[in-house]
Assembly symmetry: C2
Homo-oligomer: 323 residues x 2
């Protein structure tokens, strides 16, 4: 965008931002935002592009803003970090007007307030298609307070927050001829980063953690590879969101296939010593209001097995063939 | 890009990255990068889009990578921060292949190594046009160790590092029928963030500072507005890069018009008590190998005046009319 347009839009954006948080000494509008981290930081960046990660014709500007920040914060949740600051780069196409830009920001600000995240800086550019690149900084007292993907030990329980499949089923609904807006579509368009659950898991001794963004099968594979272990998942134990089985049946796929292959649920997949399971499930339920379910276990070896009813086994990458 | 392609490219990218720096406990490849800041942080984000901030037909992938990181680091230089970590989101169009992506990264890595910056994380996406969004984190012992745009006091000297006009003249050359590659074009395509000069200015008592990215006139205006002062610039004192006058004459513009309106020089514009001027100029020269020139002064009031030979005065926004 031209410079004067950018400056004016930036001024309007700044008016909508809540006051600076406790860590920030200098917010948006200078060359850089200044803050004083309390201890260690966890930083992650996510890029979202129209037509790749979302489609403007299927989501409101506010939903696009919400989802972009949510997916970035989900990475902090998967570290067990406390949400801190977000820095937002926007590429704005000519047909995405100032009002739409402010709506997008409103969606982002609402989630920022709900999660205690400060929008501390940003940059605007012209672009052919809408894109968002969001860098989030999370905080913890020490580097060891964060939970990496590596660290799972044979004998640990494999646990999952909430339920999966809703986002993939919601996407199927959105892509259908007559999409009905409902809980499944909402899970696709407005995912919740599991920040409180992530902190509870980190406090209670999770040995490894990842967020389910690429799909349970793929993300379990990442965790197994980083930890140098194998994961055995009991397919029947995987908690499925209401309505997923019906959508899967309607399109001729298995519910677990749709759920494990689809991704974007932004639930947390973690490993934890079995003796801590009950206590951690209580802590997650209290902090986040969702269940923590044991869906499998960590064993020596490599790769991911999903045991299906009838004793059938599936390797990662096999999800596409799952019926 | 499809997920397998992304994972493979990420693996190839990670191979090229230098080992983690002293602050980073967990680098690229987990949900987030973990580091322990030493005191206060300064964080800035910049988005660059093909056709807006650079043109693929005029710059090599390595130059694009260099310039994107350089412009982001320039914001840290303008805070007087020590370069720390960079987080890079790339949008890759179908005709920008894996080799070009790795070349782009090589250009970025070379500057990262030269400036002590760690490429600590990133994200890749498909896109219609190449874009880069770079978040950089700089460090300092305390929030007060950074220099904001606000803080200039009437009576302060207005100083500028290096020389301006080269980037704008280089762009004119690039846009001409038969561009000759030379120092001016290099300044346009491969700017140097003045990190060492920025730290020297911060140490020696700069009261306000900004990098010259939008043009001397516009950026002086930002500094004046943030500080609540007026800036009086002596047009004849502004140091002009070699060759700028010739390019300006060839296109029928004044040298100061081209230089002050064109931007992208990434020199630092700062205010400093006059008694510290000589010492700071020595420190900048020693640290960065460039001059620090007094180009004007801070006075009470608002706005920016540029005094031209003959006593003519120009207000900000008047640069477009400058002959």
């Amino acid at each position: 965008m031209d410079r004067m347009g950018e400056f004016e839009l930036l001024a309007r954006i700044r008016e909508r931002l809540p006051a600076s948080g406790p860590r920030t000494h200098l917010g948006s509008g200078d060359d850089a935002a200044v803050s004083v981290p309390g201890g260690a930081t966890a930083t992650s960046v996510d890029a979202l592009v129209d037509g790749v990660h979302f489609r403007r014709e299927l989501a409101s500007p506010a939903q696009i803003g919400h989802k972009a920040l949510a997916t970035a914060l989900s990475d902090l949740a998967a570290m067990g970090a406390e949400a801190g600051e977000a820095y937002v780069a926007l590429g704005l196409p000519p047909d995405f007007g100032e009002e739409e830009c402010l709506e997008l920001l409103d969606g982002m600000v609402a989630l920022a307030i709900a999660t205690g995240t400060e929008l501390a800086g940003g940059d605007l550019s012209r672009a052919d298609r809408l894109f968002l690149a969001i860098t989030v900084v999370g905080h913890g007292p020490t580097p060891d307070s964060f939970v990496a993907r590596a660290g799972a030990q044979p004998g640990d329980a494999l646990v999952l927050t909430g339920e999966i499949g809703a986002a993939a089923a919601g996407l199927e609904l959105l892509n259908s001829q007559n999409p009905e807006m409902g809980a499944l579509v909402e899970r696709q368009l407005e995912p919740t980063p599991r920040l409180a659950a992530g902190r509870a898991l980190a406090r209670d001794g999770a040995t490894a953690m990842i967020d389910v963004s690429d799909g349970l099968g793929a993300d379990a594979g990442h965790l197994a590879e980083a930890s140098g272990v194998a994961l055995r998942i009991d397919g029947e134990a995987v908690p499925m969101a209401d309505g997923v089985a019906e959508i899967a049946a309607a399109i001729g796929r298995g519910a677990l296939d749709l759920a494990a292959g689809g991704g974007e649920d932004y639930e947390l997949l973690a490993t934890i010593p079995p003796k801590r399971l009950a206590q951690t499930a209580d802590a997650v339920n209290e902090a986040e209001g969702c269940a923590l379910t044991k869906i499998g276990e960590v064993i020596a070896g490599s790769g991911v097995e999903i045991r299906l009813p009838g004793g059938r086994l599936l390797e990662p990458g096999g999800f596409d063939q799952l019926a």
